[in-house]
Symmetry: C2
Amino acid sequence: MTSMILKNVRPMAGPATDLYIVDGNFVVDLPQGAGTVDCGGRILIPGLVEAHTHLDKSLLGLPWYHNEVGPRLIDKITNEREVKIALGLDPKIQSERHAILAMSHGCTHIRSHVDVDTHHGLAGIEGVMATREKLAGMIDIQIVAFPQSGMMTRPGTAELMDEALSMGADLVGGIDPCGMEHDPKGHLDTVFALAEKHGKPVDIHLHERDALGWFSMQEIIDRTVALGMQGKVSISHAFCLGAVDRAYVTGLHEQLAEHRLHILTTAPASAPVPAVKELHAHGILTGAGCDGIRDTWGPYGNSDMLEKAMAVGMRNNLRRDDEMALALDICTRGGAAILEVADYGLDIGCRADCVLVEGETLAEAIVTHAPRKLVLKAGKVTARDGSCVIEAP
Amino acid sequence: MTSMILKNVRPMAGPATDLYIVDGNFVVDLPQGAGTVDCGGRILIPGLVEAHTHLDKSLLGLPWYHNEVGPRLIDKITNEREVKIALGLDPKIQSERHAILAMSHGCTHIRSHVDVDTHHGLAGIEGVMATREKLAGMIDIQIVAFPQSGMMTRPGTAELMDEALSMGADLVGGIDPCGMEHDPKGHLDTVFALAEKHGKPVDIHLHERDALGWFSMQEIIDRTVALGMQGKVSISHAFCLGAVDRAYVTGLHEQLAEHRLHILTTAPASAPVPAVKELHAHGILTGAGCDGIRDTWGPYGNSDMLEKAMAVGMRNNLRRDDEMALALDICTRGGAAILEVADYGLDIGCRADCVLVEGETLAEAIVTHAPRKLVLKAGKVTARDGSCVIEAP
């Protein structure tokens, strides 16, 4: 059934009304013979958008991983690459478990980075592509071919990236051009050449802080402009935008806005983060993601983008109701715009991707993040009372 | 019933065993005629300790408060003082709601700061004292007489503080001697004079950052030593210990350790925080708290100290299992030691204040913080399956 009447529902915590869905879209006229769902005055928000995660590497459903990994980024990357097989981590099964958990929390769209390296080849891409196909119609999954272990430092990786993009990966990924790759020119030239060859957008992990990150970000902006890729480049994490020197950061904000680069924040608690109110004031599209969850990097995360809206709020010291609405906007409309989702929202004509949440206000819905009453994807029920309608493997 | 057999339980995630409780204490010998609780191999931890909160001012159970408050500390303090009555905030009812929520999550001990000011007089102290009495035997509540609005800037407050301590408040509170009081000597002399007069410990809110906070902290340390109050002084928040200049901070750590001052962190996401691994390495007793929850300051918080252990972990970038154990230790034993709780822990002879939690490991128990299966206070059941055995008003 993709026709439905949502009775006594409050879109974005506004006044109670009835909404009509026909063939998966919100429509004006009362549909004939459609079933009615009594929403009990609950708030309706558009589908939550997980705009930065790693579907191929969560350990959900596997025995607890005792983390004794070293403190550096490279410790985590090396450890993960080497223990994946011993842990029995199958990207197909793990990505399905992860995506179904996200769906149970009201997620309707995911952008996932997926490791491509010479150790595991394209196993990750193949696994997540299988999940994408299996869950088609219930959740939309974008795949970023992601050179987690580096391209410059591991010959053969760029060729695998090229193959991943030919196979069906949607975006070209990248990672710390200086800190990981030790060759910013080589790395970024390769990333953008792949993007140009395949006509696909770019999404680069940038953990580099302060001036190192500013340098790499400037190199990314310059290539975006040179290739006419305005609106097609996202920078994930962007810790360098959380630097103390706000005057320098403002200069970057102005360029990001002018050339329409996007920022995806994971709002980590222990690293500097982009200031979402400043990004908003500059008109920079901003989305959010849970990043990797329950993996060899760390034990945290549950793939709940409503809880992540809370984390965005807490990390950015948002307290007022209008500020809380911004946190939610980032986890819904912001991510959707960056993922270029068509017909997104609760307006007439939009695809009925939406979530019924608990609370008197949007702020209360965020801070309580109670189990979602109902989740619809194109008008089809995908989760009820916090549980996905399909079971994880 | 305060005699009980806890069957198939894993203390601190160790091997499964049976534990015996008689007259509210853990004992060696199998009690005759005691009821048996099958713990299903779950983990047992000692009671969670909420070591920094504000029981008198949560808005739990009241209509949603639309926050439009300004960005400064003084905006929040002034707004709160002025809207409390209009909002219908009754400290007795609110503190009972708040404490019962904490109990539902496995909290067995609370230290609460309670506002004392010339606007509301001792209404807060009286309200929380009534709740303390009503919940006696189910949860232990320490009351800090807290001059939230300042003593130097609001004449008459010091006299009310004196009265609060005579009435039964357990500790003398204080707040930003420079930033709020504009008179560090006057403020701290008053705080320590009250402590000396009443023979009670001290717990001071210190939000001041960097060098300002270092100055105030040094003044606190010096008075602690001068009055021989080693072991009796806690500093809450202590954002200045999260400063970038670690060499200077190390000098303070060494003094805090030598003179046995304690640190209570609320692990806020958007302010600098004391580095708990460094505090631990110096042997400084560290506890944690949720701070105010769902109040006029902000919408966040649910009084769950197991979730707060996760926040402590995330804010301090703890990822390894041994590091996660430290986060839990802070929310249990650390807080208990600072609150000077006698017979705390899971050993023979200890008071049976304990919580049955879900997970294969302590780290998993923290990151999932699933509803608590069972909570005992001196061997009596206070919560089951996430719900307190008594209802909130």
